[in-house]
């Protein structure tokens, strides 16, 4: 169970746009064990989807990996060529996209689309694939699967389509499932169904999941570990209890204070994070959060802090923590 499945070391990825280089990922490192559920949270443009896409090797033009290593299950994803990548994609890692309306091909039946994956990766016959497709649809909780395989995506509702996407993603029993905002386009009651289904399937099939979302509620109900991203960096990483009950980075604290809580009895005013998200074309020199940070110091504006380890799997990049650590060291002396 404790085998390392995915390890990303110092990944740097940039988009070379006509307006200049956008450093979408800046020194991102994390690792994941087999069977773990990792949540990546952050605002739009923080680099959470880009991280996921780079694991699949599907970074869109003009994005390019310019440094770092991606180890997945014994492969070096960043060094593989397209042909080798294809064997891994959909087979060992697969992905569910945000919008089930656009990620299915409207001119093929859903049966065709599930069979395609199976035939490509397992080289089985059409007949076997068809049967497997029906089984998969049953697995993801679609009723009358024999009828559904003959239907086109437009005949299904949003929730059903996302179930079909999950069926396609799980067709080859991947070791890692990446879910990129899988429920953002869905209603809450349907979202609850899909999340429950994913957790059920995780129990049955034992795969690992990377859950990308901006919804802190979703990560707190599904994940074991959380990486909080801001402007292309992981600013804090920890277990859910670390992040929710002992947040260390000012951005994480700000996020937790700025969301309205349903369980609150009294009307407490929200504490927003002031300012606007980073302009990724002209990022600040030091810590990217510094311009919005309430406890910003001189050094924050010029130099990016290193990670401070609060425990083995809880770390954060903030000068305040470095300062605190330094002070305790001084006291000890």
């Amino acid at each position: 169970m404790n085998e390392l499945l995915l390890e990303i070391k110092n990944e740097r990825l940039s988009f070379f746009t006509p307006a200049g280089e956008v450093k979408a990922l800046n020194d991102v490192s994390f690792s994941m064990k087999q069977g773990e559920v990792l949540g990546i949270v952050g605002e739009s443009g923080s680099g959470k989807s880009v991280t996921a896409y780079s694991i699949m090797g599907i970074t869109a033009h003009p994005g390019r990996l310019i440094g770092g290593e991606i180890h997945f299950n014994g492969h070096r994803i960043d060094l593989l060529n397209e042909k080798e990548l294809r064997k891994i994609r959909g087979n060992e890692v697969s992905i569910i996209f945000q919008d089930p309306m656009t990620s299915l091909n409207p001119v093929y039946t859903i049966g065709n689309q599930i069979c395609e994956v199976l035939i490509l990766h397992t080289h089985c016959s059409k007949k076997v694939a068809r049967q497997k497709a029906v089984d998969l649809l049953t697995l993801v909780g679609i009723n009358e699967p024999e009828r559904r395989v003959k239907q086109y995506p437009h005949e299904l509702s949003g929730g059903m389509r996302q179930r079909v996407m999950i069926a396609i993603a799980l067709a080859c029993e991947p070791k890692l499932l990446i879910a990129d905002e899988p429920t953002t386009a869905l209603d809450v009651t349907i979202q609850a169904q899909i999340l429950e289904l994913m957790m059920d399937l995780k129990k049955k099939l034992g795969m690992s999941i990377i859950m990308i979302t901006h919804d802190l509620g979703i990560v707190s109900s599904m994940c074991e570990k959380i990486a909080v991203m801001y402007a292309g960096k992981i600013v804090e990483y920890g277990t859910i209890d670390d992040i929710f009950y002992n947040p260390c980075h000012e951005y994480t604290k700000g996020l937790l204070n700025s969301i309205p809580k349903l369980t609150e009895v009294e009307h407490e005013p929200l504490v927003p994070i002031e300012g606007t998200p980073v302009d990724m074309l002209n990022p600040p020199a030091g810590c990217p959060f510094a311009p919005r940070c309430k406890s910003c110091m001189q050094i924050c504006l010029t130099t990016m802090p290193d990670y401070t380890y609060l425990s083995d799997d809880h770390y954060s990049a903030c000068w305040l923590l470095q300062k605190k650590e330094f002070e305790t060291q001084q006291e000890d002396k």
Binding site: D187, V188, T189, H214, D215, G217, S220, S221, E274, T276
Partner: protein, 324 residues
């Protein structure tokens, strides 16, 4: 607290397809009644297609209502000429990227309502008013000469709000005003709505699908399902002492950003999808997904009745639903 806006048995049907002789209608809003008190915020929640946006728009007479009555400050405006009322009733739209004209400067966007209602005496007065409005929503005079594309989503939403406020309205329909914004920006905008309400004595109809946000900002909340109001109560009652099975499952479906609560809580997961509004179920709309449905639910529409002090719900089997 007097009633500022009231709707009685509001019906809004849209004709879809069908033939000349066999007309087919979608009942987007069906027999909805509620009121909003002066200075109050009423929240409307529900899933997509439940009719919450249509209700908001019909209230402003952006649609011609199929049936029912709309009262503003006690006056029936269901068929009235709207121009004098447009000054008093404004709307903030969901998508700040689509609701601002890209070819107009921010100053002109905010100034247009002033021109239409002839609210400025001179050019200088107009400029002053525009700048005062922009400052009120946290922008500044420099911004007046820029175009919408130069702004971030949160700033654009502020521009949209400034435009709505320009004519000094009494009532604002906020149609999912924060769902297109980033989490860290949402709180800024919510706080601004609350601040403006205090300062200007505004009345809001706040429409959103996110119940945590609606609960935060609203005094009372109405829950809609397939064109009908299923439950209406003050926000504390609705969150903690709700009675309708749909409200119950809606609240239970919301992931709460607190791992300890999540581990302890038992979630009710509704099966199936929302039925098509073209062919709604007979009787109670919710019966196809309701865990407590009985025979009567398919035969008779439940009445929207008072079940507690100012607490309304439409359900036949309220006694079967366990107490919250």
């Amino acid at each position: 607290m007097g009633k500022l806006v009231e709707v009685q048995n509001l019906k809004q049907y849209f004709r879809v397809g069908g033939s000349l002789f066999r007309k087919q209608y979608i009942k987007a809003v069906d027999d909805v009644s509620f009121y909003i008190g002066k200075g109050e915020t009423l929240g409307l929640v529900g899933e997509s297609g439940c009719g919450k946006t249509t209700t908001g728009r019909a209230l402003l007479r952006l649609y011609e209502p199929t049936g029912g009555k709309i009262l503003y400050d006690g006056i029936d405006i269901t068929h009235a000429k709207m121009q004098p009322y447009r000054r008093k009733m404004q709307i903030v739209f969901q998508d700040p990227y689509a609701s601002l004209d890209p070819r107009m400067t921010v100053g002109d966007i905010v100034g247009e309502p002033l021109d239409i209602h002839k609210l400025s005496d001179s050019k200088k007065d107009r400029t002053d008013k525009i700048i005062a409005m922009l400052e009120r929503v946290g922008l500044n005079s420099e911004h007046a000469n820029r175009y919408p594309h130069e702004f971030s989503g949160g700033q654009r939403q502020r521009i949209g709000i400034a435009r709505a406020l320009a004519v000094d309205p009494e009532f604002i329909v906020c149609d999912e005003p924060i769902s297109a914004l980033d989490v860290s920006i949402q709180a800024q905008v919510i706080n601004m709505f609350e601040k403006l309400q205090d300062e200007m004595g505004l009345t809001y109809l706040f429409i959103a699908h996110d119940l945590s946000v609606v609960k935060h900002i609203s005094d009372r909340i109405g829950v809609m399902y397939l064109g009908r109001m299923v439950e209406l109560a003050n926000s504390y009652e609705l969150t903690f002492h709700n009675v309708h099975p749909y409200t119950r499952s809606l609240i239970s479906a919301i992931p709460i950003p607190d791992p300890r609560i999540n581990r302890a809580r038992h979630r009710i997961i509704l099966q199936g999808d929302v039925p098509s509004p073209l062919h709604p179920p007979s009787g109670c709309n919710f019966r196809t997904r309701c865990p407590y449905a009985t025979a009567i639910c398919s035969e008779q529409e439940p009445e929207f009745r008072e079940v507690g002090a100012n607490h309304f719900a439409a359900c036949h089997n309220l006694d079967k639903v366990p107490k919250a």
